[in-house]
Symmetry: none
Subunit: 428 residues, 2 copies
């Protein structure tokens, strides 16, 4: 009756990559109210792929595949699905034209092998790929005369394995199609609330009674430093489902207080940039242990340039002195990883860029460089603004490694600025 | 003939967690030389679990399950496997004694529900769980009289879903068992070669004859701008498998030339840092459109501080002028996204930090800010070094979006420096 996911790729069978696509699609199906009962992975093998597709056709109404749509000889998904239903492939001229145009725009050569990507089973509708070259299909094969059982209305949707392409295609084309497909059991409304500065277990305890609720449901997820609560309500109509969410969200926000920084597509960076945009203020950074990761988090937000001016990557102490004016004596007296140096970096970044606010981070990302007094994972973070400068140390521990420490440092710096902006009235 | 993995858990179908267990086991099977051709996920549902187990019994010789071994009512794996082969469960007194002893040691109460974990199908051997309470089984069910096909020698191994418990049990008990099982088709050796500056399709065409080979095999993967080829060889012994890889790697590197930048855990950043470390030279960055992402890529490499000094995030033009000394006239005459400005940024970063080399990037990451002459996706990248400064524009197109452009810009900048370092003898 329900949906199944079939991920294609020998790299999954070899354990080279984790199947993040299956998880993402599973989450999306749940949000759409479409039950799914099985996920499968097969390799780039024509016969096994055909067998898996035929088996699924006998069990489910909707088969979603990922992977195997590219131009190389081991990309077999379209071909195998056609063969499974004894249907020939035909070239779609509009797809081939689109592939050629995209390559031309990137200055890449058009090679003959790319043309394979324009082949789809006769009768399949196109599932366009706006960002990459290989399109998917939406196809309800004709079950007449096939030597195996096919569920009534069985439809297959194919996606590439590249996560960004798959997600863009899902959102642009699959979601509207699925909403009209009649596969959903009711309508779901959902909201993702985002938290920083609270552990998943503490948040779960604070919300324990709400986690028991069956409609709407509340489910906690831990991300990279961030914690999320997904609120999902089911109703006959969208408005009814939405109406169930609003009071729940109010209750959760009231309990969580400042720890809740946003919802849905918000990030700490987007929230901070928006606050500053409203104040018509600007921001700079001075980064040591993150090496540019804090600036990159800000620059990832479209339109960041209205607020974010830039700053200094002061990885070496000489750069802290030369570009940020951190006094050599301060570095000698306190060490680079200290509150006085973090403050001098932040003030230096404000001075050098003319920004209203500056964030500075200096710490030990490891694996080397730690000591008993200053262990790996220790970071000092300063916030400088029109009303003064403050700094405080934080310990992220060493067990999760360098990139984890760098990621949490950037998040923590943004969160400190967010809390300070929310706690103080507009300063100018 | 081969192995299959069956992961049990509704949380996987809801997308609450990523299936890291499947990946880990897949990697382990590959290393043991045991081919596996399918992975499945089903929820905590007795009937669907029985169906999946019976189907697998008809296809494979070894079924590995994870999850569903705990004490709660939705833990159904042992029960369903017993039912699939029409075999009753029986309590193992040694398991129940072990569970009680473990709980006593942790000062936890012994509740009746825990006793379910001591139930295993009659005839199954115990797969002990040293760290948790629920044991697994190693069971070769009797196929006589069953109303569905069972592969000769079909054996099922069950593991809990908790990764640490599963891994400990795998290593302690499953690996020795699997090594004696006769399932291994030799041992595997593999190598991942990494490329930049070549499209997956072009690389695949260049290596077309090698992609046809069956031992060793060559498989292409596309990443974020990067393209990879995985070489996998099978042999009776490790040394034999490794020996098959070496000449293939030499051939591929000879064909690909400069496009091959490394292997296995290498990144463009780690390769560039290593080249500079050997030369005892240092590196700085000047970043506009990446906002710190280039520096972050360098800082992600442990030990980067020996080579990477830092630099300037010159997001705003005023910062390009103030911290990098880019002349206002240059900005006015050519615009910020131009070769002259990129060169001035790179030279400015060298001057400001004292680094031997500097990379500068300036471009239009979008979605806004493009024009017909300077569209979204246009980036100018400069490399400045002891022997001079050069800059060139590149168009990444707008279709894949802002973060894609930022990621490719950082990679392209590192690649240009890599090629220049490889093309010129040590400059000092």
């Amino acid at each position: 009756m329900a949906a199944e996911i079939l991920c294609v790729g020998t790299e999954l069978l070899l354990g080279n990559i984790t199947n993040g696509n299956a998880r993402w699609i599973a989450e999306q199906l749940a949000a759409l109210g479409i039950a799914h009962h099985r996920q499968q992975v097969v390799g780039d093998n024509r016969e096994r792929l055909i067998a898996a597709v035929r088996e699924a056709a006998g069990r489910c109404r909707l088969l979603i595949t990922t992977g195997g749509l590219g131009p190389t000889p081991d990309d077999l998904t379209a071909e195998a699905i056609g063969a499974a239903f004894e249907t020939p492939l035909a070239e779609r001229s509009e797809v081939w034209a689109d592939i050629q145009a995209k390559l031309a725009a990137r200055g890449r050569p058009v090679t003959p092998s790319l043309r394979r990507q324009a082949l789809l089973p006769v009768g399949a509708a196109l599932l366009p790929n706006a960002t990459g070259s290989a399109p998917g299909m939406i196809w309800r094969p004709d079950p007449a005369g096939l030597p195996f059982p096919v569920q009534e209305g069985f439809t297959v949707l194919t996606f590439p394995g590249v996560p960004s392409e798959m997600r863009a295609m899902w959102t642009a084309t699959a979601v509207p199609w699925l909403q009209c497909s009649g596969l959903a059991e009711g309508v779901f409304a959902s909201r993702m609330l985002r938290f920083w500065g609270v552990a998943e277990s503490s948040l779960a305890e604070q919300m324990a009674d709400l986690l028991e609720s069956s409609n709407p449901t509340v489910a906690p997820y831990a991300g990279s430093g961030e914690v999320k609560l997904r609120l999902t309500a089911r109703g006959i109509r969208q408005a009814e489902a939405e109406a169930l969410l609003a009071p729940l969200e109010r209750e959760i926000r009231a309990r969580a207080g400042m720890a809740c920084f946003g919802a849905d597509d918000d990030s700490l960076a987007s929230v901070v940039l928006e606050r500053l945009r409203q104040r018509r203020q600007t921001l700079a950074v001075a980064e040591s242990c993150t090496g540019g990761g804090l600036g990159a988090a800000l620059a990832a937000v479209p339109g960041a340039s209205e607020v974010f001016l830039g700053g200094v990557i002061a990885y070496a102490n000489a750069v802290k002195q030369g570009l940020l004016g951190v006094p050599a004596e301060l570095l000698a007296a306190h060490g680079a990883v200290s509150d006085p140096v973090a403050q001098a970096m932040a003030e230096g970044a404000r001075r050098a860029t003319g920004a209203d606010w500056a964030l500075a981070v200096t710490g030990i990302a490891g694996p080397g460089g730690g000591s008993p007094e200053k262990p790996v994972g220790l970071v000092h973070i300063a916030v400088a603004g029109p009303d003064g400068c403050s700094s405080e140390g934080v310990r992220f521990g060493s067990s999760r490694g360098r990139s984890w420490i760098q990621l949490l440092t950037a998040g923590e710096a943004l969160d400190r600025l967010r809390r300070r902006l929310d706690a103080t009235p507009q300063a100018r």
